[in-house]
Symmetry: C2
Subunit: 208 residues, 2 copies
Protein backbone atom coordinates (compact mmCIF):
# COMPACT_ATOMS: atom_id res chain seq x y z
CA UNK A 1 0.00 0.00 0.00
CA UNK A 2 1.06 3.60 -0.45
CA UNK A 3 3.46 4.54 2.32
CA UNK A 4 1.79 7.70 3.61
CA UNK A 5 3.52 7.48 6.95
CA UNK A 6 7.07 7.17 8.19
CA UNK A 7 8.95 7.98 11.36
CA UNK A 8 10.28 11.31 10.09
CA UNK A 9 6.81 12.47 9.13
CA UNK A 10 5.42 11.38 12.47
CA UNK A 11 8.21 13.20 14.28
CA UNK A 12 7.65 16.40 12.35
CA UNK A 13 3.91 16.26 12.88
CA UNK A 14 4.39 15.60 16.59
CA UNK A 15 6.71 18.59 16.91
CA UNK A 16 4.27 20.85 15.13
CA UNK A 17 1.40 19.62 17.25
CA UNK A 18 3.41 20.21 20.41
CA UNK A 19 4.34 23.72 19.37
CA UNK A 20 0.72 24.53 18.59
CA UNK A 21 -1.19 22.74 21.32
CA UNK A 22 1.44 21.80 23.88
CA UNK A 23 2.02 18.37 25.28
CA UNK A 24 -1.58 18.05 26.40
CA UNK A 25 -2.55 18.34 22.77
CA UNK A 26 -0.23 15.57 21.75
CA UNK A 27 -2.54 12.59 21.62
CA UNK A 28 -2.31 9.69 19.25
CA UNK A 29 -5.67 10.67 17.83
CA UNK A 30 -4.63 14.29 17.23
CA UNK A 31 -1.34 13.17 15.78
CA UNK A 32 -3.10 10.83 13.39
CA UNK A 33 -5.59 13.50 12.41
CA UNK A 34 -2.83 15.98 11.63
CA UNK A 35 -1.38 13.35 9.31
CA UNK A 36 -4.73 12.56 7.71
CA UNK A 37 -4.70 9.01 8.94
CA UNK A 38 -6.44 6.73 11.38
CA UNK A 39 -4.88 6.49 14.85
CA UNK A 40 -4.22 2.80 14.50
CA UNK A 41 -2.11 3.44 11.40
CA UNK A 42 0.54 5.05 13.57
CA UNK A 43 1.23 1.73 15.20
CA UNK A 44 2.72 0.38 12.01
CA UNK A 45 5.60 2.82 12.49
CA UNK A 46 5.89 3.38 16.22
CA UNK A 47 5.27 0.91 18.96
CA UNK A 48 3.76 3.31 21.46
CA UNK A 49 3.26 6.93 22.34
CA UNK A 50 6.45 6.73 24.36
CA UNK A 51 8.14 5.78 21.14
CA UNK A 52 6.89 9.02 19.59
CA UNK A 53 8.34 10.94 22.52
CA UNK A 54 11.68 9.27 21.96
CA UNK A 55 11.64 10.32 18.33
CA UNK A 56 10.88 13.90 19.31
CA UNK A 57 13.64 13.83 21.87
CA UNK A 58 16.23 12.67 19.37
CA UNK A 59 15.15 15.37 16.99
CA UNK A 60 15.50 18.04 19.66
CA UNK A 61 18.92 16.76 20.66
CA UNK A 62 20.14 17.36 17.15
CA UNK A 63 19.22 21.01 17.59
CA UNK A 64 21.32 21.53 20.69
CA UNK A 65 24.32 23.66 19.85
CA UNK A 66 27.52 21.96 20.93
CA UNK A 67 29.62 23.49 18.20
CA UNK A 68 31.61 25.60 20.62
CA UNK A 69 33.46 22.57 21.91
CA UNK A 70 35.57 22.46 18.79
CA UNK A 71 36.17 26.19 18.45
CA UNK A 72 35.82 28.05 21.73
CA UNK A 73 37.61 27.94 25.07
CA UNK A 74 36.07 25.31 27.35
CA UNK A 75 34.24 27.78 29.57
CA UNK A 76 32.60 29.50 26.62
CA UNK A 77 31.74 26.23 24.95
CA UNK A 78 30.03 24.93 28.08
CA UNK A 79 28.11 28.15 28.44
CA UNK A 80 26.90 28.12 24.84
CA UNK A 81 25.97 24.47 25.05
CA UNK A 82 24.15 24.85 28.35
CA UNK A 83 22.13 27.86 27.24
CA UNK A 84 21.12 26.17 24.02
CA UNK A 85 20.28 22.91 25.79
CA UNK A 86 18.18 24.61 28.44
CA UNK A 87 16.47 26.86 25.94
CA UNK A 88 15.28 23.95 23.87
CA UNK A 89 14.11 21.70 26.66
CA UNK A 90 12.46 24.47 28.63
CA UNK A 91 9.67 24.18 26.07
CA UNK A 92 9.71 20.40 26.28
CA UNK A 93 9.84 19.64 29.98
CA UNK A 94 7.54 16.63 29.69
CA UNK A 95 10.36 14.97 27.78
CA UNK A 96 12.85 15.39 30.58
CA UNK A 97 11.47 12.54 32.63
CA UNK A 98 11.87 10.39 29.54
CA UNK A 99 15.36 11.50 28.57
CA UNK A 100 16.89 11.37 32.00
CA UNK A 101 16.26 7.67 32.16
CA UNK A 102 16.59 6.74 28.50
CA UNK A 103 19.62 4.69 27.42
CA UNK A 104 21.60 6.42 24.70
CA UNK A 105 21.86 3.18 22.79
CA UNK A 106 20.32 3.73 19.37
CA UNK A 107 20.08 7.47 19.96
CA UNK A 108 22.59 8.71 17.39
CA UNK A 109 21.99 12.43 17.83
CA UNK A 110 22.30 12.19 21.57
CA UNK A 111 25.47 10.16 21.23
CA UNK A 112 26.90 12.64 18.75
CA UNK A 113 26.37 15.39 21.28
CA UNK A 114 28.02 13.43 24.05
CA UNK A 115 30.96 12.62 21.80
CA UNK A 116 31.51 16.27 20.93
CA UNK A 117 31.18 17.37 24.53
CA UNK A 118 33.55 14.65 25.71
CA UNK A 119 36.11 15.70 23.12
CA UNK A 120 35.82 19.28 24.32
CA UNK A 121 36.49 18.22 27.88
CA UNK A 122 39.48 16.14 26.82
CA UNK A 123 40.90 19.00 24.81
CA UNK A 124 40.47 21.27 27.82
CA UNK A 125 42.62 18.96 29.88
CA UNK A 126 40.11 17.03 32.00
CA UNK A 127 41.22 13.64 33.32
CA UNK A 128 39.17 11.03 31.52
CA UNK A 129 37.54 9.72 34.68
CA UNK A 130 36.13 13.11 35.62
CA UNK A 131 34.47 13.78 32.30
CA UNK A 132 31.30 11.70 32.47
CA UNK A 133 30.47 12.73 36.03
CA UNK A 134 31.03 16.37 35.08
CA UNK A 135 28.70 16.08 32.11
CA UNK A 136 26.12 14.30 34.20
CA UNK A 137 26.26 17.07 36.79
CA UNK A 138 25.91 19.77 34.15
CA UNK A 139 23.01 17.98 32.52
CA UNK A 140 21.23 17.58 35.83
CA UNK A 141 21.51 21.30 36.34
CA UNK A 142 20.34 22.07 32.83
CA UNK A 143 17.28 19.83 33.14
CA UNK A 144 16.35 21.28 36.49
CA UNK A 145 16.78 24.79 35.14
CA UNK A 146 14.57 23.92 32.18
CA UNK A 147 11.70 23.21 34.59
CA UNK A 148 12.43 26.40 36.40
CA UNK A 149 12.19 28.46 33.27
CA UNK A 150 8.49 27.60 33.17
CA UNK A 151 7.69 28.74 36.67
CA UNK A 152 5.07 31.44 36.95
CA UNK A 153 6.26 34.88 38.00
CA UNK A 154 4.43 34.67 41.30
CA UNK A 155 5.80 31.29 42.33
CA UNK A 156 7.48 32.81 45.38
CA UNK A 157 4.51 34.84 46.52
CA UNK A 158 4.19 33.81 50.15
CA UNK A 159 0.73 35.36 50.31
CA UNK A 160 -1.13 34.98 53.57
CA UNK A 161 1.84 33.32 55.21
CA UNK A 162 4.26 36.16 54.56
CA UNK A 163 4.36 37.09 58.24
CA UNK A 164 5.70 33.72 59.29
CA UNK A 165 8.48 33.82 56.69
CA UNK A 166 9.95 37.29 57.09
CA UNK A 167 13.48 36.60 55.86
CA UNK A 168 12.35 34.71 52.83
CA UNK A 169 9.69 37.25 51.96
CA UNK A 170 12.19 40.07 52.31
CA UNK A 171 14.74 38.26 50.14
CA UNK A 172 12.11 37.81 47.44
CA UNK A 173 11.16 41.49 47.65
CA UNK A 174 14.77 42.54 47.39
CA UNK A 175 14.85 41.21 43.85
CA UNK A 176 12.94 44.17 42.55
CA UNK A 177 10.14 46.60 43.11
CA UNK A 178 7.70 44.64 40.99
CA UNK A 179 5.29 42.46 42.84
CA UNK A 180 6.58 39.17 41.58
CA UNK A 181 9.69 38.53 39.61
CA UNK A 182 11.07 35.09 39.39
CA UNK A 183 14.81 35.13 38.79
CA UNK A 184 15.01 32.06 36.61
CA UNK A 185 17.49 33.47 34.11
CA UNK A 186 19.65 35.19 36.70
CA UNK A 187 19.70 32.03 38.77
CA UNK A 188 20.65 29.95 35.76
CA UNK A 189 23.60 32.17 34.97
CA UNK A 190 24.77 32.22 38.58
CA UNK A 191 24.61 28.48 39.03
CA UNK A 192 26.17 27.81 35.67
CA UNK A 193 29.07 30.10 36.45
CA UNK A 194 29.56 28.34 39.76
CA UNK A 195 29.53 24.95 38.07
CA UNK A 196 31.92 26.04 35.36
CA UNK A 197 34.35 27.43 37.90
CA UNK A 198 34.08 24.46 40.22
CA UNK A 199 34.25 21.77 37.55
CA UNK A 200 36.90 23.68 35.61
CA UNK A 201 39.19 23.33 38.60
CA UNK A 202 39.32 19.60 37.87
CA UNK A 203 41.41 20.17 34.77
CA UNK A 204 44.99 19.06 34.87
CA UNK A 205 47.20 22.10 34.79
CA UNK A 206 49.24 22.11 31.58
CA UNK A 207 52.81 22.10 32.82
CA UNK A 208 52.62 20.55 36.28
Amino acid sequence: MAAILDQDGITAAALELISKKGYDGLTMAALARSLGVAPSALYNHVSSKDDVLKLVEEDLMSKVDFGGFSTLPWEEAVRQWAYSYRGIFARHTPLISVIAVLPVTDAPQTLAMYEAVTEGFLRAGFPEKQIIPSIVALEAYIFGAAFDANAPADIFDSGRLADSTPHFTSAVRSLGPERNNYPSDLAFTMGLDALITGLGALREQPGS
Copy 2:
Protein backbone atom coordinates in the same frame (compact mmCIF):
# COMPACT_ATOMS: atom_id res chain seq x y z
CA MET B 1 -22.51 11.72 57.80
CA ALA B 2 -19.57 9.99 59.44
CA ALA B 3 -16.39 11.69 58.31
CA ILE B 4 -14.38 8.71 57.15
CA LEU B 5 -12.14 10.80 54.95
CA ASP B 6 -9.96 13.84 55.40
CA GLN B 7 -6.96 15.35 53.63
CA ASP B 8 -4.45 13.87 56.04
CA GLY B 9 -5.82 10.39 55.59
CA ILE B 10 -5.86 10.78 51.83
CA THR B 11 -2.28 12.01 51.87
CA ALA B 12 -1.11 9.10 54.01
CA ALA B 13 -2.92 6.57 51.84
CA ALA B 14 -1.49 8.13 48.70
CA LEU B 15 2.04 7.93 50.08
CA GLU B 16 1.60 4.30 51.03
CA LEU B 17 0.15 3.47 47.65
CA ILE B 18 3.03 5.21 45.91
CA SER B 19 5.61 3.37 47.96
CA LYS B 20 3.96 0.04 47.21
CA LYS B 21 2.87 0.41 43.60
CA GLY B 22 4.70 3.45 42.35
CA TYR B 23 3.14 6.43 40.66
CA ASP B 24 1.53 4.25 38.02
CA GLY B 25 -0.39 2.59 40.80
CA LEU B 26 -1.64 5.89 42.13
CA THR B 27 -5.09 6.12 40.59
CA MET B 28 -8.11 7.70 42.15
CA ALA B 29 -9.80 4.30 42.10
CA ALA B 30 -6.90 2.56 43.86
CA LEU B 31 -6.62 5.38 46.35
CA ALA B 32 -10.31 5.14 47.14
CA ARG B 33 -10.14 1.38 47.48
CA SER B 34 -7.23 1.61 49.91
CA LEU B 35 -9.41 3.89 52.00
CA GLY B 36 -12.47 1.66 51.73
CA VAL B 37 -14.45 4.26 49.91
CA ALA B 38 -15.91 5.02 46.51
CA PRO B 39 -13.72 7.03 44.13
CA SER B 40 -16.22 9.84 43.94
CA ALA B 41 -16.03 10.30 47.71
CA LEU B 42 -12.50 11.61 47.34
CA TYR B 43 -13.81 14.64 45.50
CA ASN B 44 -15.46 15.92 48.64
CA HIS B 45 -11.96 16.52 50.03
CA VAL B 46 -9.72 17.16 47.06
CA SER B 47 -10.61 18.89 43.86
CA SER B 48 -8.56 16.73 41.53
CA LYS B 49 -5.80 14.19 41.33
CA ASP B 50 -3.38 17.07 40.95
CA ASP B 51 -4.61 18.24 44.30
CA VAL B 52 -3.62 14.88 45.77
CA LEU B 53 -0.16 15.29 44.28
CA LYS B 54 0.13 18.70 45.90
CA LEU B 55 -0.76 17.22 49.26
CA VAL B 56 1.88 14.54 48.83
CA GLU B 57 4.42 17.13 47.83
CA GLU B 58 3.82 19.23 50.90
CA ASP B 59 4.15 16.18 53.09
CA LEU B 60 7.45 15.26 51.48
CA MET B 61 8.77 18.78 51.86
CA SER B 62 8.25 18.53 55.59
CA LYS B 63 10.63 15.57 55.58
CA VAL B 64 13.50 17.41 53.93
CA ASP B 65 16.22 18.02 56.47
CA PHE B 66 17.15 21.69 56.59
CA GLY B 67 18.12 21.62 60.25
CA GLY B 68 21.76 22.20 59.48
CA PHE B 69 21.12 25.79 58.54
CA SER B 70 20.74 26.73 62.19
CA THR B 71 23.61 24.65 63.52
CA LEU B 72 26.24 23.88 60.92
CA PRO B 73 28.59 25.96 58.80
CA TRP B 74 26.91 27.04 55.58
CA GLU B 75 28.74 24.57 53.36
CA GLU B 76 27.81 21.64 55.56
CA ALA B 77 24.24 22.80 55.91
CA VAL B 78 23.81 23.07 52.16
CA ARG B 79 25.31 19.64 51.68
CA GLN B 80 23.03 18.03 54.24
CA TRP B 81 19.99 19.79 52.86
CA ALA B 82 20.80 18.93 49.27
CA TYR B 83 21.43 15.25 49.97
CA SER B 84 18.24 14.94 51.94
CA TYR B 85 16.22 16.83 49.33
CA ARG B 86 17.55 14.76 46.45
CA GLY B 87 17.16 11.51 48.34
CA ILE B 88 13.49 12.12 48.98
CA PHE B 89 12.52 13.34 45.54
CA ALA B 90 14.54 10.75 43.70
CA ARG B 91 11.73 8.37 44.60
CA HIS B 92 9.10 10.92 43.64
CA THR B 93 10.28 12.30 40.32
CA PRO B 94 6.75 12.52 38.91
CA LEU B 95 6.17 15.25 41.45
CA ILE B 96 9.03 17.38 40.24
CA SER B 97 7.17 18.70 37.22
CA VAL B 98 4.43 19.73 39.62
CA ILE B 99 6.63 21.33 42.28
CA ALA B 100 8.87 23.26 39.96
CA VAL B 101 5.92 25.27 38.75
CA LEU B 102 3.79 25.35 41.87
CA PRO B 103 3.41 28.64 43.73
CA VAL B 104 4.48 28.37 47.36
CA THR B 105 1.41 30.29 48.43
CA ASP B 106 -0.55 28.08 50.83
CA ALA B 107 2.30 25.56 51.01
CA PRO B 108 3.36 26.04 54.63
CA GLN B 109 5.93 23.26 54.78
CA THR B 110 7.60 24.44 51.62
CA LEU B 111 7.64 27.98 52.90
CA ALA B 112 9.07 26.87 56.22
CA MET B 113 11.92 25.23 54.36
CA TYR B 114 12.61 28.31 52.28
CA GLU B 115 12.55 30.49 55.38
CA ALA B 116 15.10 28.31 57.18
CA VAL B 117 17.34 28.12 54.13
CA THR B 118 17.14 31.87 53.60
CA GLU B 119 18.07 32.48 57.22
CA GLY B 120 21.05 30.17 56.83
CA PHE B 121 22.23 32.11 53.79
CA LEU B 122 21.80 35.42 55.61
CA ARG B 123 23.74 34.14 58.60
CA ALA B 124 26.50 32.97 56.29
CA GLY B 125 26.87 36.50 54.97
CA PHE B 126 25.11 36.40 51.60
CA PRO B 127 23.83 39.69 50.22
CA GLU B 128 20.07 39.54 50.30
CA LYS B 129 19.69 39.89 46.56
CA GLN B 130 21.83 36.87 45.84
CA ILE B 131 19.95 34.50 48.11
CA ILE B 132 16.87 33.61 46.09
CA PRO B 133 18.78 33.09 42.85
CA SER B 134 21.27 30.90 44.70
CA ILE B 135 18.51 28.78 46.18
CA VAL B 136 16.82 28.52 42.81
CA ALA B 137 20.06 27.35 41.23
CA LEU B 138 20.65 24.77 43.93
CA GLU B 139 17.10 23.49 43.67
CA ALA B 140 17.37 23.17 39.92
CA TYR B 141 20.44 21.06 40.39
CA ILE B 142 18.80 18.94 43.07
CA PHE B 143 15.73 18.26 40.96
CA GLY B 144 17.79 17.35 37.94
CA ALA B 145 19.95 15.07 40.05
CA ALA B 146 16.85 13.40 41.45
CA PHE B 147 15.92 12.31 37.92
CA ASP B 148 19.43 11.12 37.36
CA ALA B 149 19.38 8.93 40.41
CA ASN B 150 16.78 6.80 38.65
CA ALA B 151 18.76 6.23 35.50
CA PRO B 152 19.48 2.61 34.64
CA ALA B 153 23.07 1.45 35.00
CA ASP B 154 23.43 0.96 31.26
CA ILE B 155 22.16 4.38 30.27
CA PHE B 156 25.51 5.26 28.69
CA ASP B 157 25.94 2.03 26.80
CA SER B 158 26.66 3.26 23.30
CA GLY B 159 26.02 -0.23 21.93
CA ARG B 160 26.24 -0.62 18.19
CA LEU B 161 27.33 2.98 17.74
CA ALA B 162 30.36 2.73 19.99
CA ASP B 163 32.73 2.98 17.04
CA SER B 164 31.46 6.37 16.03
CA THR B 165 31.82 7.77 19.55
CA PRO B 166 35.30 6.64 20.60
CA HIS B 167 36.09 9.38 23.10
CA PHE B 168 32.76 9.16 24.85
CA THR B 169 32.83 5.37 24.94
CA SER B 170 36.33 5.41 26.36
CA ALA B 171 35.39 7.97 29.00
CA VAL B 172 32.47 5.80 30.07
CA ARG B 173 34.74 2.73 30.25
CA SER B 174 37.28 4.60 32.32
CA LEU B 175 34.77 4.77 35.14
CA GLY B 176 35.32 1.18 36.05
CA PRO B 177 35.88 -2.33 34.85
CA GLU B 178 32.20 -3.25 35.13
CA ARG B 179 30.22 -3.14 31.96
CA ASN B 180 27.94 -0.33 32.95
CA ASN B 181 28.19 1.88 35.94
CA TYR B 182 26.35 5.09 36.00
CA PRO B 183 28.05 7.64 38.21
CA SER B 184 24.96 9.33 39.54
CA ASP B 185 26.15 9.68 43.12
CA LEU B 186 29.69 10.67 42.21
CA ALA B 187 28.37 13.22 39.77
CA PHE B 188 26.00 14.63 42.34
CA THR B 189 28.79 15.15 44.83
CA MET B 190 31.05 16.72 42.25
CA GLY B 191 28.47 19.15 40.99
CA LEU B 192 27.28 20.01 44.45
CA ASP B 193 30.83 20.77 45.57
CA ALA B 194 31.28 22.98 42.56
CA LEU B 195 28.05 24.84 43.27
CA ILE B 196 28.87 25.27 46.94
CA THR B 197 32.29 26.66 46.12
CA GLY B 198 31.03 28.90 43.36
CA LEU B 199 27.98 30.23 45.17
CA GLY B 200 29.88 30.48 48.44
CA ALA B 201 32.16 33.00 46.81
CA LEU B 202 29.21 35.39 46.68
CA ARG B 203 29.31 35.87 50.46
CA GLU B 204 30.43 39.21 51.73
CA GLN B 205 33.74 38.82 53.44
CA PRO B 206 33.39 39.63 57.13
CA GLY B 207 35.84 42.50 57.59
CA SER B 208 36.16 44.06 54.16
